[in-house]
C-alpha cells in the first residue's frame, strides 16, 4: 500500500484507543509495566503524527488535507470522516506532545495505575479525534467522549475538593454540549426537502446559506458550547475548580488541550462556518475577551492556592484568544491560533511544575510554601522560565502571540477607532497585571525562608526532561515564530479572507443598526483587502 493511501489519521486516532482495551488484562499490580506500555503507545502515536504530517501535509494549502471518509451510519447521514488543516494540525501535534508528557508526569502514580493510564490513552484518542473530525455528529461524539475520563481523572486522583470539582465539570460540559447537538441537527436539517439526503459533513454545512436569524441562533449555540469549554466569562466557573483540583497530569491535559478544544471550536464552527453571524457577534467576542483578560488577572491575584492562581491566569490568557478571533484580519486569527499553541505548552509546564512542588511540599497553599528556591534550584529555574513565558516575556512564545493579537485587533479598521482604543487599553491593563501576579507567585513560593520540611530533593531528571520538552518549543517559537505560524498561516489567512468577504456586504445591509457605529464604511473594508494581498 502506498503511503499516500494509508489512512494515517484513522491510525493516529485509533491506536491509543485500541491499545487501551487490553489494559485490564495485563497482569500488573504495581503499575510498573503499564506505565511503560502507555508511554510507548503515546510515543509511537506521536511519532506517527510527525511522520504522517511530515510526509503528507502540504503547508501551502488552506484546504482540508489527508481526508479519510468512510461509511459509518448512512441512515442518519453520519460518516467516519477525518481530515486536517491549518487549524487542526498544530493542535493535533500539541495533543500528542502534551498527552505523552502527561503520561510521563504520572509516572509515580501508585493509586489505580491501570485505570489512570487507560483513561489517559482514551483521552489521547478523543482529543485528537476532536481536532480531526470533519463530520459534525462524529465531532459531537468524540467531544462527549472526553466527559467521563476527565471526570474520573479529577475525581479519583484530584485534590481535597475533587468530587465537587468533577461534578461541576461534568454538568457544565454536558449541558454545554447539548447546544452542539441541537445546532448540528438544525444545520443539517435546514433546507432539506423530504426525501432529500441529510449530511453532517462540515464542509457541506459550511457552504449552506442560512437565514440570518437562524445563523445568529446557531452562532449563539456554538458560542455557549465552546465558550464553556474555553471558560469565557460568565461560563468559566467550573475551570478554577477543575484545574485546581485535578492532579498535575490531569491539569496538564485540561489546560494544555481541553481548553484549546473550545478555541478550536470557535474558529472552526463560528468563524469558518458562520461568517455572517460572526461579523455581528465579533464585537461581543472582543468585549468578552477583554472581560476575560481583566477578570482572570484580577481573580488570579486573589488566589492563595498555587494551582488556582495558574487556573485563573489561563482564563485571562483565553481572553486573548477571544480577542484574536474577534479581529477580522489574518494577523489576529493567526495570533489566536498561536496563543492556543503557546498557552497549551506554557500552562502544561506551569501545572506540571506546580505538581513537582506539591509532591515535595504536600501543599498548594502559597502562604505555607516559601523558600523553595534554595532547596530546589533547578525546579525554581524551570518554574521561573515558565512564569516568564506566561507573562509574555519577549523571546518567548506568549509574547509573539499576544503581540500579534494586539496588532491584529488594533489595526482592524472595521471597528471604530474609539472601540479599538478602549479594548486595547483594557487588554493592556490585563497585560500589566499578569507579571504582577506571576511574580508575586514566584516570590511567595520560592523566595524567603524555608518553612516546610521537604519530602524529596530537587527535580529529578525525568521531571527536568518533561519541563524542557515543554519549554524548548516555547523559546523556539518566541525566537523564531515562523516555526509555529508556518503551520497555520495559510489557513488563517484564508479564514480572514472569508470573514472579510462578508464584511462589506454586512456593513451595507446593516446601516443604522447598533453595530454600525463600530463598523466603518465599506470603503475602509476594501483597504483591508489590499493589505491582505
Amino acid at each position: 500500500m502506498e503511503s499516500a493511501q494509508f489512512p494515517w489519521l484513522t491510525a493516529i486516532l485509533l491506536l491509543p484507543l485500541v491499545a487501551a482495551l487490553p489494559i485490564p488484562l495485563i497482569p500488573d499490580k504495581e503499575g510498573k509495566t503499564i506505565r511503560w506500555y502507555a508511554l510507548g503507545v503515546g510515543l509511537i502515536d506521536f511519532a506517527l503524527m510527525i511522520y504522517a504530517f511530515g510526509s503528507q501535509y502540504l503547508l501551502q494549502s488552506a484546504d482540508v488535507q489527508m481526508s479519510e471518509t468512510y461509511n459509518w451510519l448512512p441512515q442518519i447521514g453520519v460518516s467516519w470522516s477525518l481530515a486536517v488543516d491549518g487549524l487542526s494540525m498544530p493542535l493535533v501535534l500539541l495533543t500528542g506532545l502534551v498527552t505523552t508528557l502527561a503520561m510521563l508526569a504520572a509516572w509515580n502514580t501508585t493509586e489505580k495505575p491501570k485505570l489512570l493510564f487507560g483513561l489517559m490513552l482514551l483521552m489521547y484518542s478523543a482529543q485528537t479525534a476532536v481536532f480531526m473530525a470533519q463530520d459534525l455528529l462524529m465531532f459531537f461524539l468524540v467531544w462527549e467522549l472526553e466527559l467521563v475520563p476527565v471526570y474520573l481523572l479529577i475525581s479519583i486522583w484530584g485534590g481535597p475538593k475533587r468530587l465537587y470539582a468533577s461534578t461541576k465539570f461534568i454538568l457544565y460540559t454536558a449541558i454545554a454540549s447539548i447546544f452542539i447537538l441541537v445546532a448540528a441537527l438544525s444545520m443539517a436539517f435546514y433546507g432539506v426537502e423530504p426525501g432529500q439526503a441529510v449530511t453532517f459533513d462540515m464542509q457541506a454545512l459550511g457552504m449552506k446559506d442560512y437565514p440570518m436569524g437562524l445563523e445568529m441562533l446557531l452562532y449563539a449555540g456554538f458560542l455557549v458550547a465552546f465558550g464553556t469549554k474555553l471558560s469565557v466569562f460568565p461560563l468559566h466557573t467550573w475551570l478554577p475548580d477543575a484545574h485546581g483540583e485535578a492532579s498535575a497530569p490531569g491539569s496538564m491535559l485540561l489546560a494544555g488541550i481541553l481548553l484549546k478544544m473550545g478555541g478550536y471550536g470557535l474558529l472552526r464552527f463560528n468563524v469558518e462556518m458562520l461568517p455572517e453571524a460572526h461579523i455581528k457577534f465579533a464585537p461581543i467576542l472582543a468585549i468578552l475577551g477583554v472581560v476575560n483578560i481583566v477578570y482572570g488577572a484580577l481573580s488570579a491575584f486573589a488566589q492563595d492556592n498555587l494551582k488556582r492562581r495558574i487556573a485563573y491566569s489561563s482564563i485571562s490568557h483565553m481572553g486573548f484568544v477571544l480577542l484574536g478571533i474577534a479581529a477580522y484580519n489574518s494577523l489576529g486569527l493567526s495570533g489566536a491560533m498561536l496563543q492556543m499553541v503557546s498557552h497549551g505548552l506554557i500552562a502544561a509546564a506551569l501545572f506540571f511544575l506546580s505538581g513537582v512542588a506539591y509532591e515535595r511540599t504536600h501543599t498548594l497553599k502559597m502562604e505555607k510554601m516559601s523558600g523553595l528556591a534554595k532547596q530546589m534550584p533547578i525546579a525554581f529555574a524551570l518554574f521561573t522560565a515558565a512564569s516568564m513565558a506566561s507573562l509574555a516575556l519577549p523571546g518567548m512564545s506568549g509574547f509573539v502571540s499576544e503581540l500579534a493579537i494586539f496588532l491584529g485587533f488594533a489595526t482592524d479598521t472595521a471597528y471604530s477607532y474609539g472601540f479599538r482604543v478602549v479594548v486595547v487599553f483594557l487588554a493592556a491593563v490585563g497585560l500589566v497585571l499578569t507579571p504582577m501576579y506571576m511574580l508575586s507567585m514566584l516570590r511567595r513560593v520560592f523566595y524567603g525562608d524555608l518553612k516546610l520540611k521537604l519530602d524529596g530533593f530537587d527535580a529529578s531528571p525525568r521531571e527536568i526532561f518533561i519541563a524542557l520538552c515543554l519549554l524548548v518549543p516555547v523559546i523556539g517559537i518566541g525566537v523564531y515564530p515562523k516555526l509555529a505560524t508556518n503551520l497555520h498561516d495559510v489557513k488563517t489567512e484564508a479564514l480572514a479572507t472569508r470573514v472579510q468577504a462578508e464584511l462589506p456586504a454586512f456593513a451595507q445591509k446593516q446601516q443604522g443598526t447598533l453595530f454600525s457605529q463600530q463598523l466603518t464604511a465599506p470603503t475602509l473594508a476594501e483597504a483591508d483587502f489590499a493589505r491582505i494581498d
Binding site: 499516500a4 493511501q5 494509508f6 489512512p7 494515517w8 485490564p24 503528507q56 502540504l58 488535507q65 489527508m66 481526508s67 479519510e68 471518509t69 468512510y70 461509511n71 459509518w72 451510519l73 448512512p74 441512515q75 442518519i76 447521514g77 460518516s79 493509586e111 489505580k112 485505570l115 455528529l137 461524539l141 468524540v142 462527549e144 467522549l145 466527559l147 467521563v148 471526570y151 474520573l152 475525581s155 479519583i156 468530587l163 461534578t167 461534568i170 454538568l171 454536558a174 449541558i175 447539548i178 447537538l181 441541537v182 441537527l185 438544525s186 436539517f189 423530504p194 426525501g195 432529500q196 439526503a197 441529510v198 449530511t199 459533513d201 457541506a204
Partner: protein
C-alpha cells in the same frame, strides 16, 4: 377438514415461536414434576434452549411474505417479529441471571421459569395481536403472570406487598383498557379486528365516543410502559419484587407495551393521530422530567433503576411520536439496546446482592478494589443508559433525537437532551461510589466482601449473561449500522406502518452519494 388443512388455512405456522415456548414451558413443568429438586440442574437450560429455538423460529420467519394468521387476528409482520425477538431475548437473559437468585431464596426454580415463560408467551402474542379479544387475552396472560412473578418470594413481605399493589393497580388499568376496547367494539358496529374497526369508524362519525375510547386505551397502554402519570406502581413494585423479575418487567413487559401501543394506536386511531400524538407528547415529557428528576433522590439501586426506566420510556416515546420511518426504526433500535444495557445492569445488581445481600447505593462504595468485573460492567451499563459515547445508549439516543428533530419535535428533543444530562448525574453517582472511593471509605459490606468465585450452581450462567450484555452494550453502538438497517427494514416491510407512512406522506430520507463516497486521501 383435517388438521393439516385447517392449520394451513389458519396459517398456524406463524405462531411457531410461541408454540415452541409453550412446549418448553410444558416440558419444564413435567421435568420439574418428575425429577423434583434435582430438576433445578436441568429446567433452566431447557428454558434457555426453548427460547433459543423460538428465536431461531423468529429469524426463520423474517422473509415470510404472508404475515396474517388465524383469519387476521394475529399478524407476524416484521415489526411484531422484532418485538417478539426482544421479548424472547429478555426472557432468556432473565432466566440466565435468575437461576442462582431463585435457588438462594429457597423457592422452586421450575415454577419460576414456567411462569416467566408464560409471561413471555403473553408478551409475544400481544406483539402480533391484531384483534381485540386476542389483545386482551394476551395482555392478561402477561399481566397475571407478572403479578405472580412479583410475589414469587412468598416469604418476603415486601414481595407480597409489591404483588398486591401491582395486582390492584394492574387490574384497574386492565378494566379501563377493557372499557375502552368495549367502546371501540360498539362504535365500530361489532367489529373486533383492528383494521375493520378503523374502516368502520372512518365511515361513521363518532368523534366524542372515539376520543373517550382513545383515552381509556392510552391509560391501559401507559400503565404497561409505566409512563407518568401511570407510573406510581413502578418504584414500589420494582423495589419489592425479586430482582430478576424486575429485569423482565423493565424490558420484556415494557417492549410488549410499546408493541401494543404502536399497533393499536396507529391502526385504530388514524382519525385521531394529532390527538394521541399530543397525549403521548405530554406523557413523554412528564416521564422524562419526573423519572429523571426523582431518580436523583434515590438511595436504593432498584428504585433508581425503576425511575430511570420511567425516564427511558419517555425517550422511546419520541420515536413513536415522530411517526416517521426513522422514528419507528429508532424506537425499535432503542428498545433493542435498552434490553442489553438494562439487563446488564440488573445482572450486576443481582450478582452484588447475591454476594452481599443488599442493593443500597451507598453499599457499593469502594467496590472497584474488590470486584472489578461488577464495577466495570455496571459502570458501562449505567453510562450507556446515560448516553455516554461510545456506548450503545449514546447511539440509541442520537437516533431518537435525530428522528425527533427531523420531525420537528423541538420541545420534546430539548427536554430529552436536558433530562439526559440530569440522568448522567445520577448514573455517574453510582459509578463514583464504586470507582472513586478510597480504600478507607469502603462500605462495611464491601470490606467483608466474599472471595469472588463462580463455582456455585447458576453463577456461571449469570457470568455469561453479564459478559454478553456488557459486550453488546459496548459494541452495538459503534457497529449499529446493521442493527439499524434491520430496524428500518422491519418498519418498511410492515404493512400497517407502510400504510401509515404513506398516509402521512413522510418520505424516507436518502443519503447523499457524497457522504458515502470512498476515502480520497491526498
Amino acid at each position: 377438514m383435517d388438521v393439516a388443512n385447517l392449520a394451513s388455512q389458519l396459517n398456524a405456522g406463524l405462531i411457531l415461536p410461541e408454540g415452541i415456548v409453550i412446549i418448553t414451558l410444558l416440558l419444564v413443568l413435567v421435568v420439574d414434576l418428575i425429577q423434583g429438586r434435582k430438576a433445578n440442574r436441568v429446567t433452566p437450560y431447557i428454558g434457555i434452549g426453548g427460547l433459543l429455538a423460538s428465536l431461531g423460529a423468529i429469524a426463520f420467519q423474517w422473509d415470510n411474505p404472508v404475515s396474517n394468521a388465524f383469519l387476521g387476528s394475529f399478524s407476524s409482520d416484521p415489526l411484531s417479529l422484532v418485538f417478539r425477538a426482544i421479548i424472547v431475548l429478555s426472557a432468556m437473559v432473565t432466566i440466565m441471571i435468575s437461576i442462582r437468585y431463585v435457588e438462594q431464596s429457597g423457592t422452586s426454580l421450575g415454577e419460576f421459569i414456567t411462569i416467566l415463560l408464560t409471561a413471555s408467551v403473553g408478551g409475544m402474542v400481544l406483539s402480533g395481536a391484531n384483534e381485540l379479544v386476542t389483545i386482551f387475552v394476551a395482555l392478561e396472560t402477561l399481566s397475571i403472570s407478572s403479578y405472580l412473578l412479583t410475589g414469587y418470594m412468598k416469604r418476603d413481605p415486601r414481595s407480597n406487598e409489591a404483588a398486591l399493589k401491582y395486582l390492584l393497580i394492574g387490574a384497574s388499568s386492565s378494566a379501563l383498557f377493557l372499557y375502552g376496547v368495549s367502546l371501540l367494539y360498539g362504535l365500530s358496529g361489532g367489529q373486533t379486528e383492528l383494521v375493520a374497526i378503523a374502516t368502520n369508524l372512518a365511515a361513521s362519525d363518532q368523534s366524542l365516543g372515539l376520543v373517550i375510547a382513545l383515552v381509556f386505551v392510552i391509560a391501559g397502554v401507559a400503565f404497561k410502559i409505566s409512563a407518568v402519570p401511570f407510573h406510581q406502581w413502578t418504584p414500589d413494585v420494582y423495589e419489592g419484587s425479586p430482582t430478576p423479575v424486575v429485569a423482565f418487567l423493565s424490558v420484556g413487559s415494557k417492549a410488549a407495551g410499546f408493541a401494543l401501543a404502536t399497533r393499536m394506536l396507529i391502526t385504530v386511531f388514524p382519525l385521531l393521530t394529532d390527538e394521541w400524538h399530543f397525549v403521548f407528547t405530554a406523557l413523554a415529557i412528564l416521564s422524562m422530567v419526573l423519572g429523571n428528576i426523582v431518580a436523583l433522590a434515590q438511595t436504593s439501586m432498584k428504585r433508581l433503576l425503576a425511575y430511570s426506566s420511567i425516564g427511558q420510556a419517555g425517550f422511546v416515546m419520541i420515536g413513536l411520536i415522530a411517526a416517521t420511518e426513522v422514528g419507528y426504526a429508532s424506537m425499535l433500535f432503542y428498545l433493542f439496546i435498552y434490553l442489553f444495557m438494562n439487563l446488564g445492569g440488573f445482572a450486576c445488581i443481582i450478582l452484588f446482592s447475591l454476594r452481599t445481600g443488599t442493593d443500597q447505593i451507598s453499599e457499593y462504595a469502594g467496590l472497584y478494589q474488590k470486584d472489578p468485573l461488577i464495577t466495570l460492567g455496571l459502570s458501562l451499563c449505567l453510562l450507556s443508559l446515560g448516553g455516554i459515547p461510545p456506548l450503545a445508549g449514546f447511539f440509541g439516543k442520537l437516533y431518537l433525537f435525530w428522528a425527533g428533530w427531523q420531525a420537528g419535535l423541538y420541545t420534546l428533543v430539548l427536554v430529552g437532551l436536558f433530562t439526559s444530562v440530569i440522568s448522567i448525574y445520577y448514573y455517574i453517582r453510582v459509578v463514583k461510589m464504586m470507582v472513586v472511593k478510597e480504600p478507607q471509605e469502603m462500605s462495611e459490606v464491601v470490606k467483608n466482601y466474599p472471595k469472588v468465585t463462580w463455582d456455585l450452581p447458576g453463577l456461571k450462567s449469570l457470568q455469561v449473561a453479564l459478559v454478553l450484555t456488557v459486550v453488546a452494550t459496548t459494541l452495538i453502538g459503534i457497529l449499529s449500522n446493521p442493527v439499524f438497517t434491520l430496524a428500518t427494514d422491519s418498519v418498511n416491510n410492515t404493512p400497517f406502518l407502510k400504510l401509515d407512512l404513506a398516509r402521512t406522506g413522510t418520505q424516507p430520507v436518502a443519503v447523499l452519494p457524497e457522504a458515502i463516497a470512498p476515502a480520497n486521501p491526498l
